[in-house]
Symmetry: C2
Subunit: 576 residues, 2 copies
Amino acid sequence: MNVFFCLDVKEMYLSFKFKLSLYFDTFQSLFMKITIAQLNYHIGNFEGNLKNMLGAIEQAKKEKSDLIVFSELSTCGYPPRDFLEFEDFIIQSNQCIDALAKASKDIAIAVGAPSVNPVIEGKDLHNSGYFLADGKVLQVAHKALLPTYDIFDEYRYFEPGNEFNVVEYKGKRIALTICEDIWNVGNDNPLYTVCPMDELMPQNPDFIINLSASPFSYKQADSRLHVIKANIDKYGIPMFYVNHSGSQTEVIFDGGSVVMSPDGKVFDELPYFEECIRSYELADVLKGGIHRVQPKEKIALIHDALVLGVKDYFGKLGLKKAILGLSGGIDSAVVAVIAQRALGAENVRVLLMPSQFSSDHSINDARTLAQNLNIQYDVIQIESVYDSYIGVLAPHFAGTSFNVTEENIQARVRGMLLMAMSNKFGNILLNTSNKSEASVGYGTLYGDMAGGLSVIMDLYKMEVYELAKYMNKDGEVIPVNTITKPPSAELRPDQVDSDSLPPYEILDEILFQYIEKRQGPKEIIALGYDEKLVKRILRLVNINEFKRYQTAPALRVSPKAFGMGRRMPIVGKYLS
Amino acid sequence: MNVFFCLDVKEMYLSFKFKLSLYFDTFQSLFMKITIAQLNYHIGNFEGNLKNMLGAIEQAKKEKSDLIVFSELSTCGYPPRDFLEFEDFIIQSNQCIDALAKASKDIAIAVGAPSVNPVIEGKDLHNSGYFLADGKVLQVAHKALLPTYDIFDEYRYFEPGNEFNVVEYKGKRIALTICEDIWNVGNDNPLYTVCPMDELMPQNPDFIINLSASPFSYKQADSRLHVIKANIDKYGIPMFYVNHSGSQTEVIFDGGSVVMSPDGKVFDELPYFEECIRSYELADVLKGGIHRVQPKEKIALIHDALVLGVKDYFGKLGLKKAILGLSGGIDSAVVAVIAQRALGAENVRVLLMPSQFSSDHSINDARTLAQNLNIQYDVIQIESVYDSYIGVLAPHFAGTSFNVTEENIQARVRGMLLMAMSNKFGNILLNTSNKSEASVGYGTLYGDMAGGLSVIMDLYKMEVYELAKYMNKDGEVIPVNTITKPPSAELRPDQVDSDSLPPYEILDEILFQYIEKRQGPKEIIALGYDEKLVKRILRLVNINEFKRYQTAPALRVSPKAFGMGRRMPIVGKYLS
């Protein structure tokens, strides 16, 4: 036997096998089908979330998908916050994973859930991505970059992952990443010292999947595309990025999941603010050449975000009906429109509560709006209640004169009447404070600052005006007079906001610099604003922290909202 | 020349020099004097904090100390929270460090402050310990273990340190650690994967200094001694542990700084809840044999903590006067006593606001208490205001019957009257809710839940009783009837708390298991409590998150208080 011939044959055979395997790999690559499921989860509602996911899996199976990708912490919803500290909560999440694994017999499933850290040292949990296939857990990847800033508290609960392995499935090598894991690319001041994709690339992944829970702000959709593109530019493989859609108390998830091709073009972007399940042939995505993006107009996004925020707050709490006070001013008008669009006209009622200081046009404007919206309105005169307070307080107030105390009493009588209606009929009170007045404390605690949900507290006054105009784009809903007249609290004769505050054009800009941009007084003054005014406004923001502390959660639409994303001492002496 | 002789001489010389250096080292060891300064800082009050520290340095110099040790983040106060995100805030802290460095000419200074992370990757700041000597910064150590749980958010701001070097000063090798750095020792479930003292020990430190900001809970002083002893047992060198004293909004620092000898005995423990500066000869500490600890009786500690909490809340905000409603019940009685002890009788006034449902004894008990405390009290009948609400609401409430709505109106009329007095005269309203009722939502938002500071919201009802008895230990301050009668909200005829709630003995235990111990329903039922009751109570806790969200900050005295240390979703479906 000719050994050389033998070797030759063997080499030929091996070479053929190698080529064959490449061919099959390519074949498989060409024909892998991937479904992304952008769903609306409910924190702690394991049964509901599981049912929702199983429905999506059924659909993906019908579409003959090989893999379905869900989002970060899909079993339990995001952010679960301190529920994560309850063992029972983790057990229930694990039971979801077991049920999903059972469903992974003809389809692989990538899904986010907490997992128990087996190492004694460090936090007890990981924020993990499970890869389920053939009825079992094939692999678990742990999130390495744990956002701990603004509204995020992940290091509070999770130990970062420090092992990086691609998932091998049907001849593909998949880089399974979780949300922030891809966000350390493409920015000048990276927040983390490691970069998970740098660790995974030596293992030659074919594509990236990213399980996300990336909350809305009016800048977020742009930032998201920017960071996904930065990853594609750097690593040259496609990405399937799957976000949550839906609102969780103050945090709104806008969906907008993205499939990006290696050419850096957006192969697809799922709709904003709704659930959506879509499937893709990997070969098509690899081919690229398609660029499909949605418009990202700030006020339109904010409008849709707030409507979803109100809808989910009520829906997920099992509530239906809202109430609010309609003053004739712009803030309550905008909130009424949002509430009507979110809950339906039949579920929104309003109170008009004039006092001796209310102008006729205010009452008329409020009435017109209620009629335009086809919502129930009632009128309650507050004077008799106000007088009864003044009556019992008279002996104690002897020798003092009308001041902010009496103004606050009016605001509080209105707040208490709304709460009484709320208690009696089960309508949840919506708060109508805006960000400008909440910033400087131009509002009455337990009065106009009362309510279960702050709908527009993350909108500066000028943005409220823009939103009102946007609402009127297809015809007058909000009376034009409400938009054009000078804003007033109407708590004393001829009062207007500009008695106490600088024009909103200036106030809003200074607040934006301080709150969103985190600029100090020196930097803001350097922009050309009056020193005395800047210092006065910054002081007002800081000394009114105690008021904001006690207000309802505010739907977050900006990159820096009051509430869980901005944590300030009340007892501090900085800029105050 | 005999080379051997030469070598001999050289050896003798070297040997002598070595022995001499050992002798001097020992000499210096024996005579190093260390001052620890337990001070009350004010967040963001750089000028005030610096002045306070410079005063302590003067005193230490007079006592001929070699080294003075301050606490963690002493320049800016703790916790500075999101003020840390302002560049200007860091610049002001750096200016404090410069001023302190200048003062370090005849004495070394160890002091905590934020420092800028020079590395681009990672968070922008470190939580650092500065060692200042000879007029300049000798060394900076960065905190490696960043607490991010309960009230702590340090990973939000800081990059952990990962280099460990002892400070060499006057022949001593000093292990400079910051708070949590020593807390990964002596517990079964360590939170971190590194242990700074393990890294420092190979460099043979002579002693440990720890700059702390360790907040009070009624268990903390014990835990602190436990962990310090675990370090001493493991490393065998003494420790100088310096805590803050003073309250920052809801977080109270109890002081109780510790000097521990290598024999594991407490060489000294500074007083609780006050500033204190003391100096020690290192030789004496090394010698040990002394064990000086203070009593740690739970209710006494809580009493002193709450008095300090109220005092500092007012003092640091530049306020003087408080107001509260006195119902004749135990909660408002206890708060009145705390307020009077914190602010002085002349700065506390109370309102008695009876309705038709108030019992005579309630009014009498309230009056007696006010007289015992020598505080101003006024009586306002709420019936006329209540009636005026009912009057204007009548057309809208037609066909409905008296229920919780009308009860809430009474509570809210009282809240609004207190706020009116507060607004008119500048007295800050103290909230009197306890932890039991705050847990299950047995209180009225904007009514009895109103106020600027929640004084006893971290005390279960049974603890409130204990505190009341403690207050009476030297003679009756709180009328005995207030302590012995069945608790009632008095919002309808013959109402008592036990109409709506289980006995507090049981309620408090179940709440404690759920809130402090984070036990799930299964575990609590396994302790022998009725299943239906447990599920009802846990559900009440969760569905009332929206109420707690809007209440004033609560002085924290337990290991798990409502507020910044317990972060729960409002819209969640877990145990609800």
